[in-house]
Each structure stands twice: as C-alpha cells, then as structure tokens.
Point group: C2
Chain length 348, copies 2
C-alpha cells in the first residue's frame, strides 16, 4: 500500500489562533469547546483563521455477508434501496447536507447486486458485499488493500478537481454495526459484549445472537489486532475500508475529517492504526447511542461535539456538526478585537 505521509499539525498556526481568541470581544475562554475547535482546525489547515468553502460528505454504502446471520432488524435489500433514496435526495443525510450547505457524494463500495443506474453515484465496487464472516473471511487481503486505496484515490481525484475544505464521513450498510463491533473489539481489546449494540434497533434476542456471531468469527479467523489490514480482511466491511482511505487522503491534504457515529469511527480508528498522526485531523461530530462508539472515541482521544442520542449513520451527525465547526471558524475570523471595538479588557 502507498505510505501515508500525514503532515504534522501546524503549531504556529495554533498559537496564532489561540492568541486571536484571547483578543476577541468576549471573556477569556467563554466560547469553550468552540475555541478549542478553532485552534485544532488552525493546526490542521495551517491557517490561523481557516475558512471553509467546499464541504463534502461521503456517504459510502456496502453490503455485509454477515447480514445472513440475522443480526439486523432490516433486510439486506435496504442498503440498495437507501442508495437510491440518497441519489433522489430523500434521506436524512440529504436534508441535513442541504441545510449545512454541503455536497453529498454517494459511493457504492460494494452493495450486493448491480449498482444503481442513477446519476451521481460513485461506483467503486471491488466485490458485491463482503463474505459472511461467520463462515469465511469478509474479503481477501488484496481486496482490503484495494478498497482503502480506492477511498484514497477517490478523495484525491475530487479534491484535485476542486479543493475540499471539510470532509464528513457517512455510511450505509445493513449489518455494518456487526462488522464495526468486531473491529472495535479487536482494535481496542474490549470484550465483544461491551462494544456491541442494537444497531437499527434489534431485540434482546437478536443482540445476543449478534454478540455470539462476532465472538465466533473472532475465534475462527483470529485476526491479528496489530495488523489493521488483517482485521479489515477478516471481519471488516467494504465501506469501512473505503472510509478509512478517504480519511487518510484528506488528512494528507490537510483537510479536517469529521467522523459520524460508530461505523465511521471504526473506519477512523482503523486508519489511525495505519497512520498514527491521523487523530490530529479528526473531529468527532457526535456521540452515538451505540455502546462501542464511546470506546472508539476514547481510543482516538476525541471528544464529540454533540450528544443528541442519534443512531442513524449516513453522515447525519457529521452534517450537523459542520455548522458548529463553521461557527467556530467564523467567530475566530469575524469577531472584533477589544481594541477594534473600543471595549475595555478584564480588570481583575
């Protein structure tokens, strides 16, 4: 695989942003998390007053062979149906991206069956869904490498055509919380039962089955937790690999990457294991209801901006957080300083 040269965070831009916050007409530190966020983005982009023009959310879809084990409340065909819904603009991510002024790029990274013959779909189908990892590895090692490379190349191509200033990651795939829980258990060393949740809303019985399926798969395939490609190969997902690639390519180009919920954060942690400098470029948009999500965020030392008890995916949390990220940067750039506004500074 291509080596990942992720540039170091720009400490100088961070120091300048920090100094600017302290000169703006507000009590010191009173914008809380928004101040930290502005400083972080300054470090990512290398500008003390970053500006955001083009915002893109990648909603990456793929199917999961493990869905055959009855781990989801929805039938597998919903993945393809939702891809069509994304392309028609009727899904939650379409509404929220419009509201946030962001583009949605819909990717078929391995949906079962033929790709939707619809305008706007990015087709990068290495295989039509993963193998059922209850029985066989999810994919071959070469496929795992290939799907990450596809994510990288897709981002690079889009960014070369017209620079992207903010990237959001989104996912769709019936069964993908099962793959994400398996990866989370592996990459963080957590018990499967602690990182496995109800996904789209399964019953107690299905949840127990889901945990059992993951435990069996891990003991059958014995993925090497020190080898992220091996983890992706054996229990991963095609959208997860593709999203990891997007994150790596965006960070390489100094573009902030906004995680959504559980699936995109599993992709994020996988990518961090491939490039240890990556967390500096990641922003956690929200805390999902999925129990494994908090564990992934802690592993990346990220604090989510929102906690709205959401568990939808698609990039919906990322889209909501775009507004907050832009708010932070606009405050940093547009607020008057004490001297510009003729406001007295703190007395004591």
């Amino acid at each position: 695989m291509t080596p990942f040269n992720i540039p170091p965070i720009d400490q100088n831009a961070q120091a300048l942003a920090r100094r600017r916050w302290d000169n703006l007409t507000k009590p010191l530190g009173s914008l809380g998390v928004l101040e930290d966020l502005g400083i972080r983005v300054a470090g990512m982009t290398g500008s003390p007053t970053p500006t955001i023009r083009r915002k893109v959310i990648f909603t990456v879809a793929a199917d999961h062979g493990v869905a055959l084990e009855g781990v989801s409340a929805y039938p597998q065909e919903v993945t393809a149906q939702m891809v069509a819904n994304f392309l028609k603009g009727g899904a939650a991510i379409n509404v929220l991206a419009r509201h946030a002024g962001a583009e949605v790029m819909v990717v078929d990274a391995g949906v079962a069956g033929p790709s939707a013959a619809m305008d706007g779909l990015i087709v990068s189908k290495i295989r039509p869904g993963t193998g059922n990892f209850a029985r066989e590895p999810a994919m071959d090692r070469s496929e795992a490498e290939q799907v990450i490379e596809s994510g990288i190349r897709t981002f690079q191509k889009i960014h070369r055509k017209e620079p992207v200033d903010l990237v959001g990651l989104g996912d769709m795939g019936i069964g993908n919380t099962t793959a994400s829980a398996a990866l989370t258990a592996l990459l963080t060393g957590s018990p499967v039962a602690e990182v496995t949740g109800r996904g789209t809303g399964v019953t107690d019985q299905i949840l127990l089955n889901k945990i059992r399926v993951i435990e069996l798969a891990l003991s059958r395939h014995r993925p090497n937790p020190e080898d992220p490609i091996d983890c992706l190969t054996k229990v991963g997902g095609l959208e997860i690999g593709f999203l990891a690639g997007i994150a790596l390519a965006a960070a390489q180009a100094r573009v902030p990457v906004v995680l959504d919920g559980f699936i995109t954060s599993a992709a994020g942690l996988l990518a961090c294991r491939l490039a240890p400098a990556l967390p500096g470029y990641l922003i956690a948009s929200h805390r999902s209801v999925e129990p494994g999500h908090g564990i992934l965020l802690r592993a990346m030392r990220l604090q989510p901006l929102l906690d709205l008890q959401m568990r939808l995916g698609e990039g919906t949390g990322a889209a909501l957080s775009f507004f907050l990220i832009e708010a932070s940067l606009k405050l940093l750039s547009e607020m008057a300083t004490f001297s510009e506004a003729g406001v007295s500074e703190k007395g004591q």
Copy 2:
C-alpha cells in the same frame, strides 16, 4: 399586569408529527433528540410540519447597580461598549446570528448613561441601570411590572409587523450573573453558594464576595419567593424582566422561545412563575458552565441541546441551537417516507 393567556400545546399536531417521524426512511427513533424536538415544536406552533422563516434573537442589555460591589471581572462601562459592538456587528452574537440566518434585535433596557445614538437600537430604558441591591432594592415594583410589559409590547409590535417564527433570548449586562444567581436561589430554593458561579471569570476571592453580597441582599430585602414580581423588584435586573416579557408574548403567539444560558434561563423561570403553561414553549439551547444554570433548567424540566462549555451570553447558545431546531423541522418536512422511497420497513 396583563393576564397571560398562553394557549395549550396542540396535542393533535404532536401526534401527527410523531406518526410522520415513524414513517420516514430511517430506523424508528434513530434521530433521537431531534425527533422529540420536532414533536415539541409541532405542539407549540400547532403545525405537524412547522416551517421557520423569520428568526430573531433579542439581545437585551442593562446595567446592574450591584456591579459597584466588585462582583465582575469587567468594569461597568463594558455593557454600553458591548451594545455599540452589537450594533456594529462585531460581537459573537452577530457572527453566529449571521451564520444561523437570524436577525439580532439589540435592546437597551436600562444601560447606565445615555443610550447609544446608533441605528437599530431599540431603546426601552425604564431607568439607567438597577439600584445596588446590596443596599437598596434593584427597582420599584411598578418599574418591575413596567419592564416586563415593555418586553411584551416590544415583541408584539415586531411580530405584528412581520411574523416571527423562532425567538432566541440573549443578554448583556456587567453584574447580571449576580442578579441571576439571586433569582435562582429564590425561585428554586437553592443555597446561594450552589447557584453562584464565576460569571465572566472572577477569582476565588471575588466569587466568595459575590456569594456574600447575594446572601446579604436576600436577608436584607426578604423577597417573597411566591411573588415573582417581588423577586424581580428586589434583586432582579432590567434585561431579565424585559426578557421574561418577550418569552411571555412569544408563547402567547405560539412562537417557540429559545433560552440561552444562565441569565435568560433566570428570566425564563421568572416568566414560568407568572404563566405556568410557559415551559411548553421553551427550548433550552445549551448548558452553560454557570453552576446555577442546570438548576434552572431542571426547575423548568428542560434538557439542553448543546453542551459546549460556553459562558458568554448575548444569545450565542440560542443562535447555535437554531441550526439544530431547523434541522429537526426540515427532516420532519423534507425526508421521504418508506412508501415514497420504496424502502422496505423493519422486518423484526
């Protein structure tokens, strides 16, 4: 004072909104807090799919005689200086309101000295700042009634001219966390030390003095906690009374009212004591760092949408939450249903 006829929440609109959420192309309940929010706004407005056109944030400024007791880190003249900053568009609230597509209405409800001779200022100065409640009541009872009435009439006039769909409350006033802490202690029966915080960022010593000043004022003036007007009279603030009036008038017109932080929530609880149906029309935008804020929100049974460790006021938290409120309503109105999109519903 005028009686407050706040209409009951529309249960039918709420039921229709709830049913619509369940038919949209997403797992049941997966939009979490945004679903509850949409249902609440449906009940307030009486429409199952409410739309927001005109958004207004009222940033209401006034001075506090108690600032003479050294309870703030900033000198009193900052109130008037910040009013000028609001009118020039350089403050945090201006940046965030522009970002959220909202208007900022700046009100001088009792700033010390002459009002700024600047376009756009709404002057409603019953008196130039409150009395120092360490020594004398903050205002007369008739002034307290008058300032609430001014808030009511100001909202009604603006709403009559061009209907407002979403109201945010904001505040500015050196010393106003001291008045708000006094009101919070009174209206919730909490110990002064538990509801008093560092405001704009005072030292330990000033914080102890602030607590002492409030305790002395409460024992000197003995405001009747069952009589909200008496509380406002003795230890309140002019912006607090005005903001209470705006909240009452907006709810009367079925317009959702978004609280900001500690000061606007003290105004909110004061207004709730005047009109017990008011909480149904209130939305808590964020949880402020001020320790009394959570106590006020619990008294109104409100859950904040955001927790960004902010403590700025001006309406900044309200402006940030406007994006989430609109996101909820756009999702409710614009998402495709399962049948429209041809997506299979939940199997189990």
